[in-house]
Structure formats: C-alpha cells, structure tokens
Amino acid sequence: MKSISIKNNQQISFDSIPVLEYDQFLDYNTSLLHIEDNHCVNYYGIPQQGNVQLICCIANDKNGLINISSAVVTLPAILESFSQYHFAFEKFEREIHENFGIHFINHPWLKPVRYPVNQSDKNNTISNYPFFKIESEELHEVGVGPIHAGIIEPGHFRFICNGEQILHLEIQLGYQHRGIENLFLQKKKLIELHTLAENISGDAVVGHTTAFVNLWETLCNQETGADLHFARTLALEIERVAIHTGDLSGMCTDVGYQLGSAVFGRLRTPVINFFQQWCGNRMAKSLIRAGKTNFPFTADLGVTLINVLDKFEPDFDDMCNETFGSPTVMGRFEKTGLVSNEIGKSIGLVGMAARMTNLNRDIRTSHSYNLYETLAHQPILKHHGDVYSRAQIRREEVKQSLAYIRQLIASIPSENLSRKSLPQPSANVFALSLVEGWRGEICHCAVTNDTGDLLHYKIKDPSFHNWLALALAVRNNEISDFPISNKSFDLSYSGHDL
C-alpha cells in the first residue's frame, strides 16, 4: 500500500501512514497529480533526530478522500524534485529546502519563502533575496514596497518593465513571519492555540479558526455538536459575504470608480458589524471554540441578521448592476490579469482563484465539513480568468452565501446545555482539516506525540499557492493595471508568511 486514504477531519494513527522509499514516493505522488481531480493540499517535512519525514497529502476532489504518503530522508540530502514533473509542488519544495536544507535537483529555483528563525541556512536573509534580473538597456525595474501604499501588510514587488508593460514580476514575502507553527507547539493552553489560529490571517479569522477547531475535535475524537456545526457554517458564510463585498469596494477604488467604492464599503460594514453583536468584536474573534461556544446563536440574533440581510441585498443588487453596467469599469475589468485554465492547473490554484479559471475546486463540495453536506453546495465557475471573472465570482458567491444564511437560520438548533468537556487529544495520531475560507482552501495538519501533545502543526493558507498566479497574471499587462489585478486576488501576506 503506497498511501492511506482519509476523509476530511478524520484521525489516523501516525504509524499507519505508509513510509515509502523516496523514489517510490516521488513516482506515486507525481503520477497522482496527472489526474485532474487530484491536487496537492499539503507537502511538508517533520524533523526527527537528523532525519526528515516528508508527508504528502493529495486530495481527490471526486471521491472526497485525501491520500497521505510519506518518506523518510536522512540529512543532508540531495533529492530529485517533484516540481520537474508537476509545477504545483514548486512552493512546497522551496519551503522544505528552506527549513531543512534538502536540495532538490531540477527544481526551477529554490528561492527563500519566508526566512523562518530555525531555517537551515542562517545566511539567508531578507536583504539578500536573489531577485531575477534581466540585463538590458531598454528595460527598467520598478520596486514597490515592502511598505504597502495603503499600509495594509508588507510585501515587496519588483517589476521588470518595458516602458509601461510588465515583463516579469517578482514577489518577495516573509516580512510578516511570526513563527506561528512553532508557537503552536510551544503554547500548551487551548485558549492560546485558539488565539494563534485567529491571528494567522486577520481577514480569515473564521476560516482558520474553524479549520483549527475541527482539527482539534478530530484529534480529541469528540463529536461536534449540531449547534457548533451550525455556528461555524453560518460564521463562515457571513465572513464570505462581508469580505467579498469589501473586496468589490476595493476593486472599485483601484479603478477609481468612486460610487462603487463608497457604496460597497458602506454595505460591508453592517454585515461585519453583525459579528460585534454576536460575539463582541467585528473580526469574529473568540466566536469559535473547540468543543464549546461562548456565544450561542439565539433566535433574537437570527432576527437581527435577517434584518441586516434584508437591507443589504437590494442595495447590493443595485450596486452590482450599476458597477457591472458601467462601461468605464468594465473597460478596466475585462481582459486584465488573465490566468488561463492550463496555468491554473499547473500551479495548483485553489479556491476562488481556481474557480475563475473554470477549475472546479471547492472544499465545500469535494470534502464537505460542518453543515455543507446538507447545503448541497454547487461551486460557481467562470471561464475567462480575468479581473472581471474574479469580480463576478464575488458577486455570485455573495448571493449564494446569502441564500445559505437564510436557509441555515430557518432552523436554528438549540444550544446543547449538557456538553461534555473536551478530552485530551489521542496519542500518536495524525489528522487533517480542510476548510473553504472565502479565499480558498485552508489546510491544517497536526501530529501528536506519546502524551497527546502536539508534535507538529502545519498550516497552509490558500495564498501560499495563489501568489504565483498573481505574478503570472500581470505579465504583459500595463504596470498601472497591477493594483487592480492584485486586489482582485486579494491574497494574504500574513497567511503566507505565518
């Protein structure tokens, strides 16, 4: 047996993961990716006294199973790369190279990813990043950042331009690295782990926290209560509505369309403010907790939420018609920042960015969790892969999420008052949790040790794959169209840097 197949949020004994020879491991996983339904959700290494156990998780979107296989390599190692057979492994191998110093032969470029404190090569610093260079009299370089013009998050973008046209964009991240994965191992209290999960990416608090609590309950082997499933699903959809609307506002701002920018901005506020009424803050922090809830969703809250949505929806529809009917806006959205289906497949796009290239990848359908099974979610697909497709997906997903919220609220489960307290996680197990955040697939993997404490914790934000799509999308575009392309992906810096 070359791999073990598990479902989303299923616990297995860590020893039951087959350990393959590296050659076999490489053959098996790269051949899996030749089938279109498969994609790599995580590929990482766990350090073990001088060795590294590589774990590769390939999800099959058809049958809802995730194939886990592993290989143990002795350091220092020089290995054949996965990337030469399938480009989707490129970023994962760079990360493994950075963390453990494993050298991959035939990898296109083992550039630094995020400069972690415990990286293998300490000389690797943010100031000596190996930027791609083209020697030419005609071309010029434009460097943007690391301080973002709108002071959101830091990241450095370096363009090589021919006049106004972008030939190449290099994205250097890592400025936000906080060592979250290591903190997960150092912190022992559950409340601390929750706080860490909430701070992985400030705009996807519900997504990451849900991934964490689903995983933790799986590790503890505890059934999730119906009311908890309900609250998590509802919060995820509210977050999706709020952030998508905010992004539409941001996209209007970036093309200088004042009306859309102001109105979508105003519409987002009451939706995100609903979290304030529910759990006391707008970011939905402290809302989601493993094995319990501090803020049960009451019928009164349901009425408030319906009122918010009833006011939101007609204005949202109007403003969408106005925006998508405006020739000047469409002139900027259409055919800007194209990503083709082939590129999307080859770099392993996930989430909204995958769906805009007609790539059917949605964890809510393929590996459903919480209440998504009952919602029978159908992903929204677009074909063009341009900024307009990304805007349309946001518009339609907002509408879809609104319908889900209404459907969910129709039957609010009563709070489980006789909840069992959460046991310790099982010893020596592996578990994996996938959640479709508004941006895309969030993957958390955990391994526990003999005493049931965390031995290893791995987080993968959708931004990890998708940043490369932005770099490819802006090629041959005007440099002045970069901001709108960037906003249309709206990727996370902190989620990538961890």
Partner: protein, 301 residues
C-alpha cells in the same frame, strides 16, 4: 487686475466644491468648502524635507511651477477688461509659460531618482504633449475668426459676433474642460485620490515633495482649475455690465467645479493605454471648431 482677483477668489473654494460634489454623489456628508484650502495653509506653515539624492532642481521646481501658473493667469482678461499683461500672441505665451512650469515639475520629479516618479513624469509629459494641439487649434481657430491674436481682443470680438459664436463657445468649453482635467491630472485620465503609486500620473511626481513645496503644488492645482474656469467664463461674459459679468463668472466657475465633481464620481479611470487615444479626440473636436470657423467665414468654395 479684476481677473486675477476673481481667479484667486475662486481658487479658494473651487476644490472644496469638487470634493463636496463627490461626497454628496457617493452618499456622504463631505468636508467644508474651504477644507482643501485649509489643508494648503497648514502645509504652508511647515518646512520642507529634502531627500539627500536630490539637487537644487528639486528645491526650485515647485516655486517655478507655481510662478508659471501665476504668470499664465496674468494674461487672462475679464470680459472687456484686459489682463494685467496683454499683447499680440499672448495665448502662445500662456501655453508655453505653463509648459515651462510643467518642464520643471518633470525634471524635479526625475531628480529624485525614484522609479515611480520617472514613470509618472513620462506619463505627464506624454499627455501634455497630446493635449497641446487641441489647445492651439482651438485658439488658432478663434484667432482666425476674429482676426486678433491676444486673449483680450479675441474674447471682446467674439462677444459682438452672432449666435454661432456662442455655439462655437460651447464646443470650446467642452475642449477646455477636458484640457483642464488633463492638465490637472483628474479623472478620467488620472485618479487624484488613489493611493497606488503605479496608477498615478501627477500624484506620483510629487511624492517626495513635502511641507511648503507640497502646499505650493496643491494650491497651484486650485489656481489652474480657476484659471481654466476663467477662460471658459470669458466665452460667455463681456458685453454685459461688470456686476452681471462677475455673477456669470462665478456661476460658470461653480458649474465647472460641479461638472468636475460629477465626472469624477460616476466613471472609473481609463486604462492607461487608452488615455493617449482619448486625449487625441480632443484635437479632432478642435478641428471641428476650425471647420466651423471656416464655414462661417465662407472660406470653403
């Protein structure tokens, strides 16, 4: 003299009206009419910070830019009243004294050595160059029509013309409004509100300017708007008594400001690559005016 006073007066509240219109159009309250001017005064009270990579060019550029605008305003008449300076061919002087100011603001931007500012400077130079033929064909047509070559005489003669001259005046107004939008780097060519260096034209050129210099540049924009407004108003005032002329002048300025606000509220900025084409259409409208003039004068056989 009177035109200078009126233009300075208008410049105090012009941007205020633009900003207020935009606020109201997007359902907000908006700041007071004099807020943009208060911001300028706040900047004037500050000292400037100069980057070590810049030379004296960067320091003198804002002053020369501002002075060029004042110089240009001097030749603008008010109805029957001459501007402070008036001579044959003063509209050529007007265009090129503004170009001189622009030249200095461009080399000032290049002086910083920043890759953004070079980009902004190249865009600004391109757009000004494309807008120039529109202005000269427009003024040349009126010079041909009236037989005069100074602003004052052209406008005075126009007022005693037929109703067709008002028709031409309307077309000319459109061209001048759009030239004013381009020269001041407003929508739909440039988005003055953006925070994104890569999409800016004018704003990116002044990224390194601070304090007093920045105040001068910002107030220069207000003055420039009021100056183009005054040019437009000149098509419609003149044969009336001075009081009515002043009222018409103020009404034209306020309408101009509201138009700018509305133009900026309901459209997105054009794709940078399409701007050149758009600006060039202004030239074709100017040519239309030129043919109109030829028709009136019976130059077509």
């Amino acid at each position: 003299m009177i035109s200078l006073l009126l233009i300075v007066l208008t410049s105090l509240f012009f941007m205020g009206i633009v900003v207020r219109t935009k606020s109201i159009a997007s359902g907000r309250k908006g700041p007071g009419l004099f807020q943009p001017m208060k911001d300028v005064i706040r900047l004037w009270k500050k000292g400037a910070v100069y980057s070590k990579t810049t030379s004296f060019i960067f320091q003198i550029a804002p002053s020369i830019y501002f002075a060029s605008i004042i110089m240009a305003i001097l030749v603008i008449p008010f109805g029957q009243y001459k501007g402070i300076v008036s001579f044959d061919g003063d509209f050529v002087f007007f265009a090129y004294v503004l170009a001189l100011g622009k030249f200095f603001s461009i080399i000032g931007a290049l002086d910083t050595g920043s890759s953004f500012e070079g980009m902004g400077a190249s865009r600004e130079a391109l757009y000004s160059m494309l807008a120039e033929p529109a202005f000269f064909i427009l003024m040349g047509s009126f010079a041909l029509y009236t037989g005069h070559t100074s602003f004052h005489e052209i406008f005075v003669s126009l007022h005693f013309g037929s109703y067709i001259s008002y028709g031409l005046g309307t077309l000319a107004t459109f061209v001048l409004v759009m030239i004013a939008m381009i020269e001041n780097s407003r929508m739909p060519v440039d988005d003055p509100k953006t925070h994104l260096e890569l999409t800016m034209v004018h704003e990116v050129m002044i990224l390194d300017n601070s304090g007093f210099d920045l105040g001068l540049i910002l107030y220069g924009t207000n003055l420039k708007f009021a100056m183009y407004g005054a040019l437009i108003a000149n098509f419609f005032t003149g044969s009336f008594s001075i009081l009515i002329s002043i009222l018409i002048f103020l009404a034209v300025q306020i309408m101009f400001a509201i138009t700018v606000g509305i133009l900026e509220s309901f459209s997105a900025r054009f794709r940078m690559g399409n701007n050149a084409q758009f600006i060039f259409t202004l030239t074709s409208i100017s040519i239309l005016i030129f043919f109109g003039v030829l028709l009136i004068m019976g130059k077509f056989v």
